[in-house]
Amino acid sequence: MYTQAMDTQRDEGGDKPALCTAEEAQLQQRFDSRIDAGDFIEAKDWMPANYRKTLLRQTSQHAHSEIVGMLPEGNWITRAPTLKRKAILLAKVQDEGGHGLYLYAAAETLGSSRDQMLDALHSGKAKYSSIFNYPTLTWADVGAIGWLVDGAAIMNQVPICRCSYAPYARAMVRICREESFHQRQGFDSLLVMMKQGTDAQRAMVQEAVNRWWWPCLMMFGPPDDQSPNSAQGMRWGIKRVSNDTLRQKFVDAAVQQAEVLGVTFPDPDLRWNEATQHWDYGTIDWSEFWRVVGGDGPCNRERLADRVKAWDDGEWVREAALAHARKETLKEAA
């Protein structure tokens, strides 16, 4: 999902080498041929400065997304309708925290410290996925996030398992393995309400789906013709499949799933196209996307404030743990 970084960055001239030494040119050439051969790049290998910078931005923002992504669902842990749903939701939110940690660790191999990354998040310099700036108003939102948001995330993340940067690819393999439970539990939760629930509960599910559908389509990033950094990402093997291709794949899968569930999507233009063998969908409101990315979504301020508060409130714990560890080391040395 969570990979909007490439689309929301300014153009920085790709990896066109500026004036460089003969040695750098040779390193660049070796790097290019390794990428062409489908080889993985490891943390200590030589890489172009812009490759490192782009990846650092993408992996750290991906990590931020996982951590901020704990907030909308965390909102419902204390109010889950049954003990079973509460245990499931706790496990899922804990997974998201774990995913954030895998990704921070991958990002750190690119030469940034954890504190630097968190500082970039807390100061508003670094972005996270726009989807987490929407509120979770009802219990059905938790199911809709699992089904649609995590469904879109999986669609987006599976190709990154083949990313050219190995530490990122390895983190993604681990994440994708765990993510499938997230989507299934969400669908299962909605299905129970649709099949065994009251009319009010069914209406609640439909209302949640109405609110999440369009923001989910935006998760894949701007249309291909407005995604100037995509080509460079493809060249580097960071991006494997285009935004529109992934979005279409998601729509095609979701339409079928919605039928099983018995809900509709809020798009009058959604119809089967016999010629393309895909579902056509209506125009996405990209002004909303850019507004939310730019900081003016329904919950941007609340999400960031919650993260900053958690970090600040935890400061004495981090310091105490470190002081204790230092004291123990001294005691052992004595």
Binding site: E42, K44, D45, W46, A91, Q94, D95, G98, L101, Y102, A105, E108, S113, R114, D115, Q116, D119, R170, A171, R174, E178, R318, E319, A321, L322, H324, A325, E328
Partner: protein, 96 residues
């Protein structure tokens, strides 16, 4: 910005079940060894992926330099006689 107050980095190795090697699976920050083990359990074995965990301070690991790759590993390249397939034996005993 200062990173003096960052908890140190640890590498995590997990043995999935008895009989297998411990395998590197990632890293994490923790203040001390005990916390590193507990966090490794929480971060890397939430689905019974492990029966044993090692944690090692990252700064205690000595690693080869990727730049030395050729020097270190190429000498093995022309020693085909170290592989069993180098030896062509008569069919009747070739399963040896």
């Amino acid at each position: 910005m200062s990173t003096d107050n960052e908890w140190p980095l640890w590498e995590v190795f997990v043995r999935t079940k008895a009989g297998l090697d411990h395998k590197h699976c990632g890293s994490l920050h923790a203040a001390d060894p005990k916390m590193a083990l507990q966090m490794a359990r929480d971060v890397y074995t939430r689905r019974q992926e492990g029966s044993s965990v090692w944690v090692v301070r990252s700064d205690q690991i000595v690693a080869s330099d990727p730049g030395d790759k050729d020097m270190l590993f190429d000498p093995a390249e022309d020693k085909v006689y170290r592989h069993p397939t180098f030896y062509k034996l008569p069919d009747s005993v070739d399963h040896m």
